[in-house]
């Protein structure tokens, strides 16, 4: 037994005799135990913690009502693992998710699957999903990569990287290959990924708190995802397109220099290498865009920089075909916001894009 040193008088004033738990009688009292006893207690608590953690992992699955973005990524992850045969794979962010419906692909274009997700995971998710699809269903004939212009200039956060449903060690391994990080940052990113994935009690604590009722639940609206991965968008406000355009114009005025991030460059490079290895063509396509926004001079400057930089990256890989000169412009009445089209225009857009791809060169097959 070990005991802390008893406290003696502080500055001034006479010391009272000890009460029931006066400072002089309070000590550390640790009953003497042997290694067997301590090992049993610590192992039992570790096992109990593991059980609680397993329960948390089962309870806090990706859910549409908690985080729609994560739910979409998880759905697409399973779709990529399902081995669905496809001649054409659509990859990209939500602009692609809501505009390319494989069910409306012309018959001569073959089969397609939509593995588009959300912008939070940047173009990186395209690479991970395609690798998975190729592993389970074999290589497609071609892939279409479509992102809103600003996705290629966004930085990656750990919170968003954690949305990808990798296992703990796979997450750490992927984190270690991420571009744009210093080695110690990659290690920190990896350690945190392992910890959050291994301990859903911590990694998914916000969701668990909400599910257990100790934090407010989020409001959500159910939007179905088709068997081939298409998800229609829903217009929530009549002014949404203009409001969104105002945001993009202001952003273009405030940040007139566009810079493609290392993640965008890395993804295109890796997709290009995979295409060379597996024998398919990568078509880089711009997202649908509100005509009124495209005609804005300040936005036009930014957009031109984006097109130029993306073409330069694409030029480094022979299997990557930049179809960036053909822009897909829509009126406000056809759109949900400045770069998402309404579901009724998705079939026609899908068919137009398929026709454009059919007419484009096919350097790798």
């Amino acid at each position: 037994m070990r005991a802390g040193k008893a406290a003696s008088a502080p500055p001034g004033a006479p010391i009272r005799k000890n009460t029931r738990c006066g400072p002089a009688v309070l000590q550390d009292v640790a009953p003497i135990r042997d290694w067997r006893q301590v090992t049993i207690v610590l192992t039992a608590s570790a096992l109990l913690l593991a059980l609680l953690n397993l329960a948390a992992a089962r309870f806090a699955q990706p859910s549409e009502r908690w985080n729609r973005g994560e739910f979409i990524i998880d759905t697409k992850w399973r779709l990529a693992s399902a081995g669905t045969p496809a001649d054409l794979v659509f990859l990209g962010d939500s602009t692609c998710l809501v505009s390319l419906d494989p069910a409306h692909l012309p018959a001569d274009a073959g089969l397609a699957v939509n593995l588009c997700t959300v912008g939070d995971v940047l173009p990186l998710a395209d690479l991970y999903l395609l690798e998975r699809h190729v592993r389970h269903a074999g290589a497609p004939r071609a892939i279409v990569v479509m992102h809103a212009y600003d996705i290629y200039s966004r930085q990656l956060s750990l919170e968003n990287f954690m949305l990808l449903p990798f296992g703990p060690f796979e997450a750490a391994r992927r984190a270690a290959t991420l571009p744009g990080f210093l080695p110690h940052q990659q290690i920190a990113f990896g350690v945190r990924s392992v910890f959050e994935k291994l301990f859903p009690l911590y990694g998914r604590r916000a969701q668990l708190r909400a599910e257990l009722g100790v934090a407010p639940r989020r409001q959500y609206r159910h939007v179905p995802i088709s068997a081939l991965g298409y998800m229609p968008t829903v217009k929530t406000s009549a002014t949404e397109v203009e409001d969104d355009a105002v945001f993009h114009r202001r952003s273009a005025q405030q940040h007139p220099d566009y810079q493609l991030t290392s993640y965008g460059q890395y993804t295109i490079d890796r997709l290009g290498r995979l295409a060379e290895h597996e024998g398919f063509t990568v078509y880089l396509v711009p997202s649908p865009l509100y005509r009124g926004l495209r005609e804005d001079p300040a936005f036009g400057l930014i957009y031109q920089q984006y097109l130029t930089q993306l073409k330069a990256v694409a030029a480094a890989r022979p299997c990557v075909v930049p179809m960036l000169d053909q822009e897909w412009l829509f009126d406000a009445s056809e759109m949900q916001n400045a770069d998402h089209i309404l579901p009724e225009h998705a079939p026609a857009f899908t068919a137009r894009l398929a026709a454009a791809i059919a007419a484009a060169p096919t350097p790798c097959r």
Partner: protein
């Protein structure tokens, strides 16, 4: 590197296996590892300040050896003054320079032709400076007084100053207690391991579950006090009352637990301070290592209570005012120290007038005293937390205005946090054991450890929040 961070978890995962592999082989190897680990731990904040801690260690080590070798009183005194003066000088420059310049400038601003802002320096306060400086001073003074033989090993002394569990926020360990432990081979028992784990978990639970959940309530009140009033002031101040206790005693528990896992015994720094029934008892229970340091190296050298009644009161006021200033270079800390000095003086006067009751209090009378003292302590924490003197005046004025929705929004959470704090203190008091969970049967202990970890992961406000006392 914070105890409640993933980086510290990673640090421990590397450090402890290494430590256990060397600690039985050789004391020197163990201490080399401890010093390297402690410097990495400290350098993670700002590696530039490693030179400061290394210099302080080397200087005071040499000063103590010189004191021991010297026989002439005037030379010994000169060595002591130089050593303590240098330590206090470093503290003064890094912690108090701007404060004194700004205060001096504010006082003489009508007379000065230039702004004093030009004289202030852009100095960062190195974390833990106040703690390790006091620890180093106590060593030199103890050697000067002949209470301690100086160590001949610079390595041992450097480990004593920099031992990472207590480096940045104490306890302020005496060399007489810790240095022999550093110098000797120590066996780590199974009891040490479980006691260490229990202390670390108790400390983390206090910090993550209680302090970090009380912190947003206190922060919100002190940031928006102008719009709040009435009972809101009580809720806001109570939140800080809970936060600072759980935060600082939690840190001390983690420090003691980590040290125990390494086979070291650090002093108990908190002994249920909110169960104290008078100001003197409060300071026997709150931040014990600091109050004992102030007693032994300030109050007693000033004359203590041996030079008459008036001088005793003056010594108390000086000691507590400087104790307040130790916490930070701001007038609210000085005011807090003065307030506690006044409480101690008042208590001294009352007990003297009533011929100092020696018998312990029980029952209702003690409860009344405990509540009254806690009211005073609560007011003290309001002074401590406030950012300026006008803010204190504004909060006090706001007591008469109407209560807002703040109270109903945060009252239940605060009641839960206060309840948890009270439950911990009652269990410790009932068992007279600061590590009371160790007395529970094995199944309960296993459930308690797992539940605490699960709760910390699940409802912890945010892993990685700063400890309050790091700023001191």
């Amino acid at each position: 590197m914070l105890f409640n961070s993933l980086s510290f978890l990673a640090f421990c995962l590397v450090f402890f296996p290494l430590y256990y592999s060397v600690h039985q082989r050789s004391v020197r190897a163990r201490n080399v590892l401890l010093l390297i680990a402690s410097y990495i731990f400290y350098g993670a904040w700002d590696w530039r300040f490693l030179s400061l801690i290394a210099f302080t260690s080397a200087w005071d080590y040499a000063a103590a050896l010189a004191l021991h070798r010297s026989r002439r009183p005037e030379i010994r005194k000169a060595i002591l003054v130089t050593s303590v003066g240098l330590s206090l000088g470093i503290l003064a420059v890094f912690k108090y320079f701007n404060f004194f310049i700004e205060s001096f400038g504010a006082l003489l601003s009508p007379l000065l032709p230039i702004a004093v802002d030009n004289w202030t320096l852009r100095i960062i306060l190195p974390v833990g400076l106040s703690f390790y400086t006091f620890q180093s001073i106590s060593y030199v003074v103890d050697v000067y007084r002949g209470d301690l033989e100086p160590t001949t090993s610079l390595l041992d002394y450097a480990v004593y100053v920099a031992l990472f569990p207590q480096l940045v926020a104490g306890p302020i360990e005496r060399a007489t207690h810790l240095l022999p432990q550093v110098a000797e081979r120590r066996r780590i028992t199974a009891t040490d391991i479980e006691a260490g784990v229990a202390l670390v978990l108790m400390g983390l639970a206090k910090k993550i579950l209680i302090a970090d959940n009380a912190s947003p309530i206190a922060d919100h009140f002190f940031q928006h006090h102008a719009q709040l009033g009435g009972a809101d002031a009580l809720i806001g101040s109570l939140a800080f009352y809970v936060q600072i206790y759980a935060d600082f005693s939690g840190y001390s528990d983690i420090a003691r637990g980590l040290a125990r896992l390494m086979g070291f015994d650090l002093m108990i720094n908190f002994k249920l301070p909110y169960l104290a029934s008078n100001p003197s008892e409060f300071w026997q229970r709150w931040h014990i290592s600091l109050s004992q340091w102030l007693r032994d190296y300030l109050y007693i050298p000033l004359g203590g209570n041996r030079r008459g009644w008036g001088r005793t009161l003056l010594n108390l006021m000086v000691t507590m005012t400087l104790g307040g200033l130790w916490h930070g270079a701001a007038w609210n800390f000085v005011l807090w120290g003065v307030f506690h000095g006044a409480l101690l003086c008042a208590y001294h006067v009352v007990t003297r007038a009533h011929a100092a009751p020696a018998r312990p209090q029980h029952g209702v009378m003690r409860a009344v005293h405990v509540i009254a003292l806690n009211g005073a302590v609560l007011f003290g924490w309001m002074l401590f937390r406030a950012e300026s003197l006008p803010q204190i005046a504004q909060i006090v004025r706001g007591l008469t205005s109407a209560t807002t929705a703040f109270t109903s929004a945060h009252g239940p959470t605060l009641a839960l946090l206060l309840g948890a704090t009270w439950l911990h203190d009652c269990l410790a008091c009932r068992t007279r054991n600061m590590t009371f969970p160790l007395q529970w049967p094995a199944p309960w202990r296993a459930i308690a450890y797992a539940t605490v970890v699960a709760l910390m992961l699940l409802v912890g406000n945010d892993i990685g929040a700063q400890f309050i006392y790091f700023q001191f």
